[in-house]
Every structure is written in C-alpha cells, then in structure tokens.
C-alpha cells in the first residue's frame, strides 16, 4: 500500500517544485499589471503582443534557432560516431579523448567566451555567425557524447555482433540494430543540446557582434533597462516552442525505428 502511494506523492512534490516557477511565469505573462505578480493583477494579452512588437527579438530568435538546431545536429554528427567508437572499440587513449570532448562542460562560460574571442575568432578573423555556430557546436558536443555513450554502454554489444554474424554489414548493423536502440539517448542528447545552446549566455555574450546576437543576450539587454512581464511572456512562448520541438524530435527519432 505505502509503495503505491510513494510514487504519486514524490512526483507531485518534485513537479510542484520544478514546474511552480513556470506557472508563475505563465500567469505573470497574462497579467494586466506592470510587474510580475502572482496571482496576476487582471488578465490581458498585452505583454504577449508586446513580444511580437519588439523588432530585435525576431532577428535574434532566428539566429538562436539556427544555432540551437544546426549546432545540435552538427554535434550529433560528430558525437555519435565518437561515442560508438569509445564504447565498441579499443581506442588507445580513450579516457583522454573523452576528457577533451567533454571539456566544454567543465570550463566556465565566461572563460570560454573570452578565450574563443581572443585566441580563435580574432586571429582567424571568422565571421560572427560562423564563430557562434562553431562555439555552440563545441558546447553541445559533450552532451551528445556523454548521453549517447551512456545509452551505448547499457546496450549489450552482442546483438550487433549477432547481426554482423547473420550477414549484416557493420554499417548496416549500426543503423538497423544500434540506432533504434539508442534513440532515447539521442533524443535526450538532442534536447539537452538544444536547450544548452538556446539558453547559452556567457559564450554568446562575447562572440555576438554587430547585427548578430542570440535571443538570451537580447533578452538580457532588454531587461537591463525594462523589466516588464513581456520577458516572462517571451520565456513562456519559448518554452512552449521548445516543447513542440521535443515533440517533433521524438516523432522524427521515433520513425528511425523503422528505417
């Protein structure tokens, strides 16, 4: 009996803690008042409408989307083969490679941003958008490798060996046997990567430049002067959009089962 009650109670408490702030944000974005408040002071869509009226939000939204999606895909293209090799092959210096690839998680963002700007972007004179794309890909790569690795480690390797023995090519075995079984991991990596990139502040802060900046940077600079519920409304809209992407990613990755 107590076991049956345990799950709902724990989940209710944890979700209240995790989702509570989100509910506040949604409520505040529908408020008619000038500040964030809960319960909201009257209902209105004025702040939601305002989000669409701020011009710079539109441009920076496009750039953030490009970086998050493009960067995550690039990181997965680099990361999945690497994770596969690390878990299925005897790679000399595997630990070192793992550390190199996952190092971007560990270094504080401000340092990454400054270091990239001073010793990478400036000396090689990269375009702003290209530099941001490379930086975001590097930042997402650790999530791709770690999460995909974790699901590969837990996948027994004898099933693909069996597939190879039964006449499947190595590549074929990977796409038919391994990929479908790690798609949960890939999905998790995609979500983490997308979110990391989309909410990235410190690195983008230093790498963004005239005419090219990401949405969080734009929001921050908007809030330096104005803190009205439109930022809450924007955050809520973005959250719903991200959920939509997760949903699509799940459908898309779900399909791969039948490839």
């Amino acid at each position: 009996m107590s076991n049956k009650l345990y799950a709902p109670i724990i989940l209710l408490l944890v979700l209240a803690f995790l989702i509570g702030p989100f509910i506040i944000i949604i409520a505040a974005s529908l408020s008619a008042g000038e500040t964030l408040s809960f319960p909201p002071q009257g209902l209105s869509l004025r702040w939601v409408i305002k989000v669409f009226e701020v011009e710079s939000f539109r441009a920076s939204f496009g750039i953030s989307m490009f970086l998050a999606i493009g960067g995550t895909i690039a990181a997965l293209i680099l990361g999945i083969p690497a994770s596969y090799a690390l878990s299925r092959y005897k790679v000399p210096g595997a630990e070192t490679i793992r550390t190199i690839v996952s190092s971007p998680i560990i270094v504080p963002g401000i340092i990454v941003g400054l270091a990239l700007l001073r010793y990478f972007v400036v000396p090689f004179n990269f375009g702003i958008l290209f530099a941001l794309f490379l930086a975001h890909t590097a930042l997402i790569l650790p999530y791709a490798v770690r999460v995909v690795s974790a699901s590969l480690t837990n996948l027994r390797s004898d099933i693909e060996e069996a597939a190879v023995l039964l006449g499947c090519s190595r590549v074929g075995a990977f796409f038919r046997v391994v990929m479908p079984n790690i798609r949960g991991g890939i999905l998790a990596a995609f979500i983490l990567g997308f979110v990391t990139s989309f909410n990235q502040v410190p690195v983008s802060l230093f790498l963004s430049g005239p005419g090219v900046r990401t949405l969080p940077i734009d929001m921050l600079s908007y809030m330096e002067i104005t803190y009205d519920p439109s930022v809450a409304a924007l955050s809520a809209l973005l959250a719903f959009m991200s959920l939509g992407i997760v949903f699509l990613a799940e459908r898309f990755l779900g399909f791969s089962r039948y490839v």
Binding site: P8, P21, Y84, I105, I110, L114, T137, A150, A232
Partner: protein, 275 residues
Amino acid sequence: MFQNRAEAFALVLPAAIFAGAIFLVPVVILLSEGFRSGDSWTIQAYIDFFAQPLNQAVFLRTLKLAAMVTAASAVIGYAAAFAIVNLPPKGKGRITGLVVLPLMISPVARTYAWIVILGRTGIVNEALVAVGLSDEPIRFLFTETAVFIGLLQLFLPLMIISLISALENMPRDAVPAARVLGANWLQVFTKVILPLTKEGLVIGGTLVFTGSMTAYITPAILGGSKVLMLETLLYQRVTMANDFVSASVIALILIVMAFAANLLLKRLATARNKR
C-alpha cells in the same frame, strides 16, 4: 569489442580534433596567462589568490553550495526517477516531459519567478503565515537559502533525466530478484540500484555540481550580491578590471573543482560496486 584501430580513429578523431582546436587550445592559452609573469612561469597568482581571506571564504562557500545542491539533487533525483521509471509507458513519457520542461525556460526568467514566489508577499510566506508556522514573513530572498533553492530547481532536471536513462537500462528483474532473495530496500539501493546506475549518477552529479559552481545569473540575482561565489568574482575581474590573470586563476580553480567532483563521484560509485 572491435579491434580495428584505423576504424576507431576515423570515428573518434573528428570530434576530438574539433573540440581540441575550437575549444581546448584557446582555453589553455587563456589559462596559461594565470601562470605568467613577464617572460617567466610562476604560481604566484595562485598563492596571492588563496592568501586573501575573502577569496578563501568565497571558495568554501562555492564548494559548499555546489556540494549541497548536488547531494540534494541526487537524493530527490533517485526518488523521482525511480517513481517515473515504474510508471506505465504513457505516463512515463508525460512526466518525463514535465521534468524536462523547466530546462526549456530561460534561467533568467526562472530566477525572477523565484523572486515572486519567495518574496515577502509570495506564496511561500503566505502559506507559512496562514498555517501559523511563522508570525511574520521570513526573509528568504537574497540569502544563501534562496540561491540554493534557485540552483536546485535549475539543475535537478539534469540529475533526474540522467538517472531515468540509467534506471531504464537496468535489467528489469534486478530489483524484484533482490527483494525475493530477502534484501531490504536500503540493501537493494546500495547493492543493486546504485552499482547499476552509477554511470547516470556520475554524469548527473558532474552536470549538477559543475552547473551550480559556474552559474552566474542565479547567485547574482537571488543572492543580491551578498552571496559572492567564484563565478561572480570571476565576472567582476573581467568586467571591472580587465584582469585576465585573476580571471584565469579563478577559472582554473573552478575547472579543477569540477574534475575533482567528477573523480570523486566515480570513486564513490565504483567503491560501492566492489562491495
């Protein structure tokens, strides 16, 4: 295990070279500035840094808060992940979605939401006063408690999803088998679940610890600049003083702490495994 080296390198090198060139080299150059003094190499900057009582206090506070957030998220994370994994598939997907949801929201907005919740007239204080636990509103905002709560909410989802994927990959019959053999829940946890999910715990723990240590916005806003942490100090050095030497010293300290946490977690997880 496959043995073909050429194949292995072909798969792994693009990622390694990419991360090395784009990321590691510039960061190492910047970090090396902390060891430079004119043309010679020295660790004077590190000695100077730790000689100051303020820096010691900030270092310890950062360590303490990050460790507390990691520990709390591991405990809550296991409880929640275990409950989620045992749900029917449909519910599992939905609840996992809800757990991930906060990650989609800008940390800045989440932090401001806590200002509404924890405020003098916020729901927490109103509930406390209504229930009679407190006569007047308690000041949560701009204290270490607020920073702890903010960081926990920020990083708990990372722990939960790491643990969910680890628990899911655990053989389904492991826990019932241990129960049948007479193990109590504590034994089941330490002898069965923990060893089989250590990968997830190490990943989740490292993410949470590193994230809490290097978070800038949450301590800055919820701590009201009274709760100085290393990252805040680092930001000050860069923006206020163009002081890249101190900045690189603090950065390296943070990096070493993150590696140490990662090793410690791995050690803890494997030590249990051997027993």
